[in-house]
Amino acid sequence: MNPKLFIKFVSVSFQKQVTYRFDCFVGIVNGFLYVFIFTSLWKALYSQFDTTVHNGYTLTAIVTYAVLVMAVRISFTMDDSIIYRKVMDGSIAMELIRPTSFFFMNLAENVGHSLFHMMARTVPIVVISVLLFDIYIPLEVIRILLFLVSCIAGYILVSMMNFIAGLLSFWFIEIFPFLLFKYAFYTFFSGGIVPIDFFPEFLKPIVALLPFQYMLYFPTTILIGRASLADAQSIIVAQLIWIVIMGVICHLMWGAGKKKLIIQGG
């Protein structure tokens, strides 16, 4: 994949997002509402108990987690029905006649989409939250760098997850139920609502076998300082292993799906 081409496609996809400015404004309000609801819930919960630390989180730590996991999640916004729509209207044909990798084109499209949401939604939400809530982030350069690397790895995993879900449209006419299912798994098992530390004991071993926690939970724990710098490195290694596993799944599904593809509308 030609990096210059990748960047060009990121920019085309970014520009397309700019057209949907009203969407974006609603998105900021919506995102902030989530942050507000979750932080309020945690405050209410913590005030019920005499102990100040639960599952290793102080109130400040859990509020910081709630704000940052939301910030990461909003930055990871992508259109998960994009492949489905291309198959439905047959426009996927026009991409396949180009000497480009469908996977990387899809990734570039996602990156452009997400970059826009990061700039237009994540930044204002984080700024407002820092002003309103009691948030603590250890400011170490290495930690922040490791966080960024882990975020990129997490992002690739989310994009691969959506790619796999999207490819189902090669087999099924309607994939909306799968997308709902995926959404539920992704938001919950990634630690997008509650950190994995708060999960019931019986769920933890199951979650450990799934890739979702590497998408939002682990990158966030690196930034808020719950993971040590040594932990952070092993987290990134585990993420890379998952990228390889999911990459193989993407590759195999693409190979099998091609044979099933029907171009709608002639």
Partner: protein, 336 residues
């Protein structure tokens, strides 16, 4: 060396589609929740052909005959159920990207341009996609602009172009990397006469000057008659004619029509071997004669010697009328 002269080689190529049917009406749909009939449709059924470099081939057939499916297999979009195909020596469904770099594709009903971007930017993206150097790109654009008149369109967003303008841009887009093989799937669909004419002229020109191999599917038989020396007719996924467009007439036309105008309308045409009167209108008569067994000179000579003729003309049947006949009576015609 011989191998290099062949642009496209197709052998026993087939494509089945697996269609699951959902029933009709409420009860049918309800049943379909639990049980669906699976139906296999053979869109392309064991076709063979070879196309040499520099050929201009018309690929025609009724809707659903399998034309587009063939094109989609040759461009690497669809994977065939069985059989083999090579384009420029590359197997398209195994090495889609490698194949895509060496072909140009236009699907008349779709666009490969970016809807929201100005034409110029779409072209520039394609330049990067196809790794065309800036100098080659500029000279190619200049050439395309001369032939297709792109300049006034360059800064317009694609969604604002008319169908004819968009088609000119799409054809230009398919040629930015100057591919040796060009696939055109109904490029003149919905265009007016002038737009069609300018596109035809351009296609004839690149075929002649650049030696570009062109495969054209169309429903417009004027396209075929003006451009394609060779014609492949597809029916229900099978090839039913593959040969020169001119020879199609010899093969399928066994009757010719002569239009004669006499000085008076009292003539009864009788007793000329092989000739029958099909229509009369005043002094004008339309006669058909058996083209296989009687020469045209002989027939006209006999008529002229017996009657006083004011005007005479022999009507060549159009390719369209021949193909219409083939579609209608395919069961009766000899297979090729």
């Amino acid at each position: 060396m011989e191998q290099n002269k062949i642009a496209i080689k197709v052998k026993d190529l087939s494509k089945d589609f697996d269609i699951s049917e959902s029933g009709r009406g409420f009860s049918g749909k309800l049943k379909a929740l639990f049980y669906r009939k699976r139906k296999i449709i053979t869109a392309v059924d064991g076709i063979d052909f070879e196309i040499k470099r520099g050929e201009f081939v018309g690929y025609v057939g009724e809707n659903g005959a399998g034309k587009s499916t063939t094109i989609k297999m040759l461009t690497g979009i669809l994977v065939p159920t069985s059989g083999s195909a090579e384009v420029n020596g590359i197997v398209p469904f195994k090495e889609r990207k490698k194949n895509a770099a060496k072909i140009g594709v236009v699907f008349g009903q779709r666009t490969q341009l970016w809807w929201d971007l100005p034409v110029r930017e779409s072209f520039d993206l394609l330049r990067v996609i196809f790794r065309v150097s800036r100098t080659d790109f500029l000279s190619q654009i200049k050439k395309l602009d001369n032939a297709l008149g792109l300049k006034p369109l360059m800064d317009m967003p694609v969604r604002k172009l008319s169908l004819g303008q968009r088609m000119r841009c799409d054809i230009a887009a398919s040629l930015i990397h100057n591919p040796p093989v060009l696939f055109l799937d109904e490029p003149t669909i919905g265009l007016d006469v002038l737009a069609k004419e300018s596109i035809r002229n351009f296609l004839a020109e690149i075929n002649r000057d650049e030696g570009t191999t062109i495969i054209l599917t169309t429903h417009d038989m004027n396209d075929i008659e003006q451009l394609c020396k060779r014609l492949i007719i597809l029916e229900e996924g099978k090839i039913m004619y593959d040969g020169e467009t001119e020879l199609l007439k010899q093969k399928f036309v066994h009757e010719k029509v002569i239009e004669v105008e006499f000085y008076d309308d009292g003539n009864t045409i009788q007793g000329i071997p092989g000739v029958t009167v099909v229509r009369e209108q005043g002094c004008k008569k339309w006669l058909t004669f058996d083209n296989d067994n009687y020469g045209i000179g002989e027939v006209i000579g006999t008529i002229a010697s017996r009657y006083k003729i004011k005007d005479i003309s022999v009507n060549e049947p159009s390719v369209e009328s021949i193909i219409r006949n083939i579609y209608n009576n395919s069961a009766m015609l000899p297979t090729t």
